[in-house]
């Protein structure tokens, strides 16, 4: 039953973090709905948070976890403001497709 007591190398956690970040970049590039593009940004933030937790574990350093806490707070504030901007843009343009939102002028 040595399989049950096997430890996981931190490399695998970091590779998972890199894969999630890359999937977030792909989503940011190929999605055409502004809300889904915003979700891809949240996915990238989460991937970076996983890296922070992994490195906090590696060096037994609590500051890494606190950094994740601050990133979460900033992401919550960013989501609130970003979604408000999306609502304002939708009110003016009546569309969510990023290809049709191509002017900064209202």
């Amino acid at each position: 039953m040595s399989f049950l007591h096997h430890d996981v190398p931190l490399t695998w956690y970091l590779l998972l973090s890199a894969a999630l970040f890359s999937l977030g970049v792909v989503g940011f590039l190929i999605k055409r709905n502004i809300i889904t593009v915003f979700m891809s940004i949240e996915l990238m933030l989460n991937a970076v948070n996983l890296s922070f937790v992994v490195f906090a574990y590696q060096w037994h350093e609590v500051k890494g976890q606190i950094f994740v806490f601050f990133v979460m707070m900033v992401a919550a504030a960013e989501a609130a403001v970003g979604l408000a901007i999306i609502i304002a843009v939708f009110r003016v343009r009546a569309t969510l497709a990023v290809d049709r939102i191509n002017l900064m002028k209202l």
């Binding site: 049950l4 007591h5 430890d7 996981v8 190398p9 931190l10 490399t11 695998w12 590779l15 998972l16 890199a18 894969a19 999630l20 970040f21 890359s22 977030g24 970049v25 792909v26 989503g27 590039l29 190929i30 999605k31 055409r32 709905n33 809300i35 889904t36 979700m39 996915l43 989460n46 948070n49 996983l50 937790v53 992994v54 906090a56 590696q58 037994h60 609590v62 500051k63 976890q65 606190i66 994740v68 806490f69 979460m72 900033v74 919550a76 504030a77 989501a79 609130a80 403001v81 979604l83 408000a84 999306i86 609502i87 304002a88 009110r91 343009r93 009546a94 969510l96 497709a97 290809d99």
Partner: protein
Amino acid sequence: MHLILFFLFAGFCLAGAINLLLQTHPINSALSLIVVMTSLAVLYLLLGAEFLAIAQIIVYAGAVMVLFTFVVMLLNAGREERTLGSRAAARVGFPAVVVLLAVLATIILRAQGLVSAHLGAGLTNDPNGSNLVVLSQVLFHELLLPFELTSVLILIAILGAVAIARADGSKVDGAERSAEK
């Protein structure tokens, strides 16, 4: 046990992220993002970050994603349309992202001295102290000012969100004009 849990929830994470890309309706993407965030909370738990696991579920899977689904339903967002721009982005973007992933994987695999994660181990191995105690001691003593500043940040963000999203007369006229076009 650690290995099984890691593979299970890492699989959920990747499946959720891929599903986010494949779905065309934003509400389905939002639900798969909730799967990703909840699985990440379990991975934080495996790495001995209990506080962050709970905060991840409350802040991300709870508050932020409720906001997302609320906006998707409020704006009645439908299926996204495939346009010329998305095909060009896919053609240029995929090789660039493959290169990015390859570079990141090379750096990670060449890194020396990474330990193995052991279930039950955390920031402190002291039987009397917990990770939560260590974290709160640093957060509320050394980093008290940044912690208090985040509350100001959240307050400003709430005020800004209300100010931006508020409907006023000129913007409603603009919506009617663009609808006529």
